[in-house]
Amino acid sequence: MQAIRSVIENFRASEMFHNYRRNASAVAGSGILAFFLFVVVFGPSLVAQNPYDIASLDLLDSYKPPAWMAGGDPRYLLGTDGQGRDILAGIIYGCRISLFIGLSGMFCSSVLGTLLGLLAGYYGGRLDSIIMRIADIQLSFPSMLIALFLMSAFKTGIDKILIALTAVGWVIYARTVRGSTLSEKQKEYVQAAVVAGLPNRKIILRHVLPNVLTPLIVVATIQVGSFILIEASLSFLGVGVPVTKPSLGLLIKNGFDVLFSGLWWTSVFPGAFIMLLVFGINLFGDFLRDELNPRLK
Amino acid sequence: MARPLLAVQGLKTHFHTFAGVIKAVDGVDFALGQGEIIGVVGESGGGKSVLGFSIIGLIDPPGRLEAGEIWFDGRRLDNLGEEQLRKIRGKDITMIFQDPMTSLNPLYTIQDQMEEVMKLHDNLNASQRRQRCIQLLKEVGIPEPESRLKNYPHQFSGGMRQRVIIAIALTLHPKLVIADEPTTALDVTIQAQILKMMRGLVKDHQTSLMLITHDLAVVAEMADTIIVMYCGRIVERGRNSDIIRGSRHPYTRGLLASIPKMTGHQRRLQQIPGMVPDVRSLPPGCSFAPRCEFSQDRCRAEAPRLIGVDAEHDVACHFPRER
């Protein structure tokens, strides 16, 4: 308890917190993220309907406009889609899916990329060349292509999306970590560890790794946002999440077909939410990037 | 002395950071004549670099010149706007920085960089400029200057780069050159060459030199007058021989005594105990009192002011040591 309190105290006294409070976009960004956190955790309990439960749907309620418009129904705040599913409920569940994909994709990419970056930077030589060449090759394949290939070979599924995202997402971590590793390796505390008798494995884990993580925080934050968007595009093309677990992107697609017949709410609201989410992530990521950049000090 | 070229009175430069006010320079007075070399000595946090930057007007927010006056050649500098300062910078007052590796722009030839100053302040034509460049490079001891004009900084060694930087500083015959640790990053043998060259240039052109360094030995060999700074204030000020051989302030004495000698034998060096205090929370009274073996109650209560203990020798100490 004492430790937690001291961490919080240190944080509040720190320059970072001071800059945070004065930075409107940082506060806005984290406000948005807090909102989404709330939605994800408490959302489902606030909404009456579970949009995946087919039994609870009523086809007669289909394509109802948002509650404040003519013909709207106060039960469905943002209207309904073609199957009578509450848009708001769909969005709340969709947020969870989108965020889950964004975060897990980021997690898998970062673990794989960091590991490869550490090995490449620390050991150098052929291992480094091989890993970096694979990274270069990987970058020439847009994740779209990989996802399309995986989808056509197997069925759609969240795991396929994660594989596709990871296959492309690891590279930036590997590159960043490799650069930081090369730089930290020259530092004397690493040499001191050699002299102290540590084996390479321990040096990498105890000394190098903790010191190369900082730049990754920014990369990871921004990547969550970009993964959410990539997944949305994939879903839009029909090679994303399965229909049973719609993400925000798939919701947009579902409403796309009827967008131009005046039933705009089915696409626009999910679209607005994705925009807001990614915007919040980027605002906060910008703040982190400026704060954690030692050169600007 | 005859009207001094540079006179600084009561200068205070403070930095207003989120963690408090850093009084980097806190009440500094000194004067420098034409053709004179003044050594500004102190350790990190002493304020000597900030002093140099304050004079040439390179203090950026959150720092500002809080108080005091800077008189240069009969004009006040501290209240000038950026426009007017720019006319003086590079022409009448120039500055040399510590790191020769980063002081030059790696993307331009040295001829470009030398001519940049000329183009800003003078109206020589291209061929005159080129001649001036060659002449300057010769003066600072660069062999075969004609062939090196089109070289880039990375094609020069550290010592050579520092010579180029000095050449740039001297381009327009400035009256005052401020050198901030100009030889600290150089090897001893190169340092000796550079210092010898600088001494020669000062004599030949009657340029005044403000030499900022932590190296007492360098200052002992180069300076006519010396000021010793500690925590933003001058603790001792006087002629070279007075300071080096007859210092009266415990800090100056401590510094001199803690340097190993080249003659004789000592088992242990004399050391100044403790550490330089945090500039954000200086002790009341004399800043050096916590580390001073001679400090008494008065020292901790009242900050000492500079008083003359001899002709042209001032000490800021309530109990200056005997000679």
């Binding site: - | 010592g159 001893v188 190993p260």
Partner: protein
């Protein structure tokens, strides 16, 4: 049996760029050249128990690289290293482990030599634990606290992080770390160069006191002549990766023989204005270890160079027992 013996130590670094960048057109043919830094070229010296051996020279002379090669941070590309008679030159990680208890190192940069994410306590304990110098973690903790006190810090510092300390304090932590395994030889690589003048004296005194108390030897690397004179029993002078003169502190400072040593002494500014007896003024720039001069490494800058100097590298000559020079001027038969 000597504590440390270094014979003809060599260290070459291959800093060649990638294959494509190496291709050059030369002598009518396309070649892929390698760029080699000859950092240490045939350096030989020894250190006995309880003595301080100072290695002095300017930047690029190879003194730091020599130190780091001796302790196998960089494996040597030639020569031999013997620790108490044992040839450790080609020892792998496992065989080096017991040696790690005998030789430790203090580094130059107080900001880069401590892991910013490790607490002081763990920093000091680490060598003890990994080189198996102590039996239990409890012993390691006790010893760490004791060392902390011994270097002038307190138990309240043990749980803090490096960034909370000043440069001088960080060096003290580095010293405590090096002493944690009770070594017989401590290699100090420019330990005070990055510190303020008034702190340098403190740390130097501390290092001398600790040596007297625990009885270990130092290999003390520095570019500062007055410091090396103060602390060393014997001194080696290096230039461009070569050891060019070795002798006692008195030999080097009262009767320097090699022109480079004399030039070095002449160039150093002094507080008391004292000048060495036989000064030599050096000309030109420090050479490069990428392309060593032919013959003697110093001949391009030496005002006393003559014919032989451009032809072959000088052998060691003893001008005095214990005082050796690598210079053609001192060979029997030369002028």
């Amino acid at each position: 049996m000597r504590l440390l013996e270094v014979k003809n130590l060599e260290q070459r670094f291959d800093v060649s760029p990638g294959f494509l960048e190496r291709l050059k057109f030369k002598d009518g043919r396309v070649r892929a050249e390698r760029t080699i830094v000859h950092a240490v070229n045939g350096v030989s010296f020894h250190i006995d128990r309880g003595e301080v051996f100072g290695l002095v020279g300017e930047s690029g002379c190879g003194k730091s690289t020599t130190a780091k090669t001796v302790v196998k941070i960089h494996p040597p590309t030639g020569g031999q290293i013997l620790v108490k008679g044992e040839d450790i030159t080609h020892h792998d990680y496992r065989r080096m482990l017991p040696i790690r208890k005998k030789i430790q190192m203090i580094f130059q940069d107080p900001f880069a030599s401590l892991n910013p994410r490790q607490r002081v306590r763990d920093i000091i304990m680490e060598p003890m634990i990994f080189s198996r110098a102590v039996g239990t973690k409890g012993e390691a903790q006790d010893r760490a606290m004791d060392l902390l006190r011994r270097v002038g810090l307190g138990p309240e510092h043990a749980d803090r992080y490096p960034h909370q300390f000043s440069g001088g304090q960080r060096q003290r932590i580095g010293i405590a770390r090096a002493l944690s395994v009770d070594p017989e030889l401590v290699i100090a690589d420019e330990p005070i160069s990055a510190l303020d003048v008034s702190i340098q004296a403190q740390i130097l005194n501390l290092m001398v006191d600790l040596k007297d108390e625990f009885g270990f030897s130092y290999l003390f690397i520095t570019h500062n002549l007055s410091v090396v004179r103060h602390i060393s029993d014997r001194i080696g002078v290096m230039y461009l990766g070569f050891l060019i003169e070795v002798g006692t502190s008195q030999d080097i400072f009262q009767a320097p023989k090699h022109p480079y040593t004399r030039a070095l002494l002449a160039a150093a500014p002094t507080i008391d204005g004292s000048r060495p007896i036989d000064p030599v003024e050096i000309r030109g720039e420090v050479g490069s270890t990428l392309s060593l001069p032919v013959g003697c490494c110093f001949q391009p800058r030496c005002p006393l160079a003559f014919g032989r100097c451009t032809e072959e590298h000088p052998e060691w000559v003893a001008v005095h027992p214990g005082h050796q020079v690598a210079c053609h001027l001192f060979e029997p038969g030369s002028h």
